[in-house]
């Protein structure tokens, strides 16, 4: 089935989310839509999938007019959309999740569900996409990649001819991305037309036949994947060549004599981290690599006191430090940038100022000192380069990258001695990334100790001075000098 869209426009208030986008999904091929955050990728995919109606423009399916009013319409025409978010309900079984939109199709009299029949069809759908998951598996035991596969199985259960995957891999780690890519290849070999949106360029090049580049809502162009270089794609996405200087230069040599800001001694947290020891020196960026659940998040939770230490001890500047709760950690000069910006990093409905001074609001006697808060925020906005109309703009009006800069600003506002960064550039566009990297490097040069945990391997290698690979809660490998480490060397120790 060939899906052709021509000259699609979509506007939200003053923002042009998609402008003059034309795209052709050829039968039996994989078509990637790439661009920075806010480029209009998701908007485009949603218009194709019926989740959003274009303001103007036309779409055809095998030459026939295609103007879906809803996702249901699109499904009926053989176009299925997999949302970016994981929409699995963990209190239902795998089969129920797959057929959540069509439970009535498996009901007998009085709405009693034909469980056995449903399980069989669900298993068939899972087998068809080539994943080795049994429908009887406890859903709590599945990882994110497997959950994504369940969603794909749900989408193909309506037997579509075209499958649209929305930013399908933004939250997945390497192994999980591979699983999803495998499913895509399998479906393609069965003649499925696939449109997908992704953050990761290497993955696009590995899987796509065609690709369409968007930038700031504008259509840049469509290409055959084989005929375009990665650098060229990058350049078209951001409008400048980023191959040189994504990561700021490191100081020539790590200062091994610098005093330890924190000494972690045989710390265990929850079930995820066991007997982990490390010294973090002043001015050093320590990278932590590992799959989800390998221990980095547990270490952060333990240091800030979000989870209790099972055993082990921590020293700060030679004095024993007992993590109690996050409040205690901030007071001791530990700032923490959580991995989930929306739920843990900032309050989107609050203003930039509110968020920036949240960790340590300036006071005058018992009162909040608004004057000082304003000058503090304005300084931070300038220092970090937060692009906002004013300090009083609500954070939800900012782009993902600028929101993350606000969280970073909140951390730096307290003048910390140790900064914990959990995936600081997740969902951040390339331009803002570079700015965040420069800022982190500059803060390290000023003496701040930083622990960086990231699923983005080039970022981890490009930013760290020293790199530790965690696997199942223990150190699998330490690279004292991260500068000359290759990505596959690191990944090798992760799994």
């Amino acid at each position: 089935m060939t899906l052709v869209a021509s000259h699609l426009f979509k506007q939200f208030g003053p923002t042009r989310a998609a402008s003059d986008v034309s795209i052709t999904l050829r039968t039996g091929t994989v078509h990637a839509i790439v661009g920075e955050n806010g480029a209009g990728k998701s908007t485009t995919l949603r218009m194709l999938g019926g989740a959003m109606r274009p303001d103007s423009g036309e779409m055809t399916l095998d030459g026939a007019t295609y103007a879906p009013q809803s996702i249901g319409d699109a499904t009926a025409r053989g176009v299925a959309l997999v949302h970016q978010e994981i929409t699995i309900n963990r209190s239902l079984t795998i089969a129920e999740n797959i057929f959540i939109g069509n439970l009535r199709g498996y009901a007998r009299a009085f709405g009693i569900i034909k469980r056995k029949r449903m399980a069989e069809v669900a298993q068939a759908a899972l087998d068809r996409i080539g994943v080795k998951i049994s429908v009887t598996t406890n859903i709590d035991r599945l990882n994110l990649g497997e959950l994504k596969c369940i969603e794909i199985a749900r989408a193909i259960s309506s037997d579509p001819k075209t499958l649209l995957l929305d930013e399908s891999t933004a939250y997945l780690d390497h192994r999980e991305v591979d699983a999803v890519l495998k499913v895509m290849r399998e479906l393609k070999s069965q003649g499925m037309t696939i449109g997908f949106v992704s953050h990761h360029l290497s993955e696009v090049l590995a899987a796509a036949d065609d690709l369409t580049i968007l930038k700031d809502g504008q259509f840049v162009g469509s290409f055959r994947a084989a005929e375009i270089e990665a650098n060229e794609i990058h350049r078209l996405m951001v409008g400048r060549d980023l191959s040189l200087g994504t990561y700021p230069p490191r100081p020539p040599q790590a200062d091994l004599s610098a005093p330890a800001v924190m000494r972690v001694d045989r710390v265990a947290v929850g079930r995820e981290l066991n007997d982990f020891s490390v010294d973090i020196r002043r001015g050093e960026i320590l990278g932590l690599a590992g799959l989800k659940g390998a221990g980095a998040e547990a270490l952060f939770a333990g240091i800030v006191g979000d989870e209790p230490l099972r055993h082990g001890s921590i020293e700060m500047a030679g004095q024993p430090y007992h993590p109690g709760n996050p409040r205690h950690a901030w007071k001791n000069g530990i700032a923490h940038l959580p991995g989930d910006r929306g739920n843990e990093g900032l309050i989107a409905g609050f203003t930039v100022l509110d968020n920036l001074v949240m960790a340590r609001p300036p006071t005058r006697g018992p009162f909040f000192d608004k004057t000082r808060a304003r000058s503090m925020s304005n300084d931070l906005i300038k220092l970090i380069g937060i692009r906002t109309a004013s300090a009083d703009a609500p954070c939800r009006s900012l782009s993902g990258g600028n929101m993350q800069k606000v969280v970073l600003g909140k951390c730096l506002a307290v003048g910390p001695e140790l900064l914990l960064l959990n995936n600081p550039t997740r969902g951040v566009d390339v331009g803002a990334r570079v700015e965040i990297y420069r800022l982190i490097r500059r803060k390290a040069a000023e003496g701040l100790a930083i622990i960086l945990s990231s699923e983005d391997m080039p970022e981890l290698i490009g930013m760290s001075d020293r790199l530790i690979v965690l696997r199942q809660g223990v150190v699998a490998r330490e690279f004292p000098v991260a500068a000359d480490v290759e990505e596959h060397d690191v990944v090798k120790y992760m799994t």
């Binding site: 955050n37 910006r341 929306g342 843990e344 993902g400």
Partner: protein, 332 residues
């Protein structure tokens, strides 16, 4: 709402929501409680010319004061995303304590009355913040307990308040203005200052806006939650004292069902139950709406058996228009 809408509302951090200016509808919505109040006054003035008389307004304000004082405290609780339905029972406890101590302490019966309210609030706060019992359930339990305590000690009989000093201070008039109204307004100013100018006020709002963010950012969430319940308890204690002074007695029925009016006033004023937003000015508007609605219907001679039905419908309509569904996302 279609599926696309739901996905957007879920607010995934990676996808960037569309930016928008504040549309005119939203500005209108913000001003709605005020518009509604003006409309209400206009309708009742037409139906009963006496409605706008100074005499009547003074009575209305006096009636509304108890509601106002309790609603001030409730604003904090709702802003933080919690709820307290024991507030009516706390009012009864404090009125009883005031009645029992007014003979010996006179004006200073305010101290044990407010302290009793604060203690009730402390228990609520501890149950929520330390015991991790959801505030709706915790206060549903304490509501029954507090009301039960009053019944137990009074055996259902009213306890009268006779001390002249007490009655004069809390229910008489000076320059034609009821003392209770002056106290209520002073407390409103105080609450307004707390919300707008103190760190505590900001922290309450932050907890309602994002509790997990607040915890991870180092806000003393447990302490703030306990304190806001103590604050509501103390204000409910004050409300009980004023109510007792007005009726010159404490009864086991005093403040029965008040929690519904209090919550309605805060919400009709435009403070959503989901937390993170709210203001004292809005709460005051809500209190006026609720109070005027009741007294206005009485004056206009609306069938008393019809009044509750109208009141309920008006409340639902008001909230229906006031709530900004886009900002709240999922309504439950």
């Amino acid at each position: 709402m279609n599926e696309a809408g739901n996905v957007t509302a879920a607010g995934d951090p990676v996808i960037k929501g569309p930016r928008r200016n504040i549309p005119r509808v939203d500005q209108l919505r913000r001003g709605f409680p005020l518009i509604f109040l003006v409309l209400l006054i206009a309708v009742f003035t037409i139906m009963s010319p006496r409605f706008l008389s100074l005499d009547n307004l003074s009575t209305v304000l006096e009636q509304g004061t108890v509601l106002l004082v309790a609603a001030l405290g409730m604003t904090f609780i709702i802003m933080a995303g919690s709820i307290d339905i024991s507030v009516g029972a706390i009012v009864a406890v404090s009125a009883l304590v005031a009645a029992l101590t007014a003979d010996s302490l006179g004006v200073w019966a305010i101290i044990p009355a407010v302290a009793a309210g604060a203690l009730c609030g402390l228990i609520n706060g501890l149950l929520l913040a330390v015991g991790k019992v959801p505030s709706f359930i915790a206060t549903m339990g304490t509501m029954v307990v507090y009301r039960g305590l009053v019944l137990y000690f009074t055996r259902g009989a009213p306890v009268s308040i006779d001390d002249d000093g007490f009655l004069w201070t809390y229910s008489d008039y000076s320059w034609g203005i009821p003392h209770s109204v002056m106290i209520g307004l002073a407390l409103a100013v105080l609450a307004w200052c707390i919300i707008n100018y103190t760190v505590f006020g900001r922290e309450v709002r932050a907890i309602g806006g994002g509790e997990r963010v607040s915890i991870l950012t180092g806000i003393a969430v447990t302490r703030v939650k306990i304190f806001m319940f103590v604050l509501l308890g103390a204000l409910a204690g004050m409300a009980g004292l004023l109510q007792g002074a007005r009726t010159m007695a404490a009864t086991s029925q005093l403040g029965l069902g008040l929690e519904l009016d209090v919550i309605a006033a805060v919400v009709v004023g435009g403070t959503p139950l989901t937390g993170g937003l709210g203001s004292i000015v809005n709460t005051m508007l809500g209190v006026l709406i609720i109070t005027l609605l009741s007294s206005g219907m009485n004056m206009a001679g609306v069938d008393p058996y019809l009044q509750n039905i109208i009141k309920g419908i008006v409340l639902i309509c008001a909230v229906f228009v006031t709530i900004d569904r886009k900002k709240i996302g999922i309504i439950k």
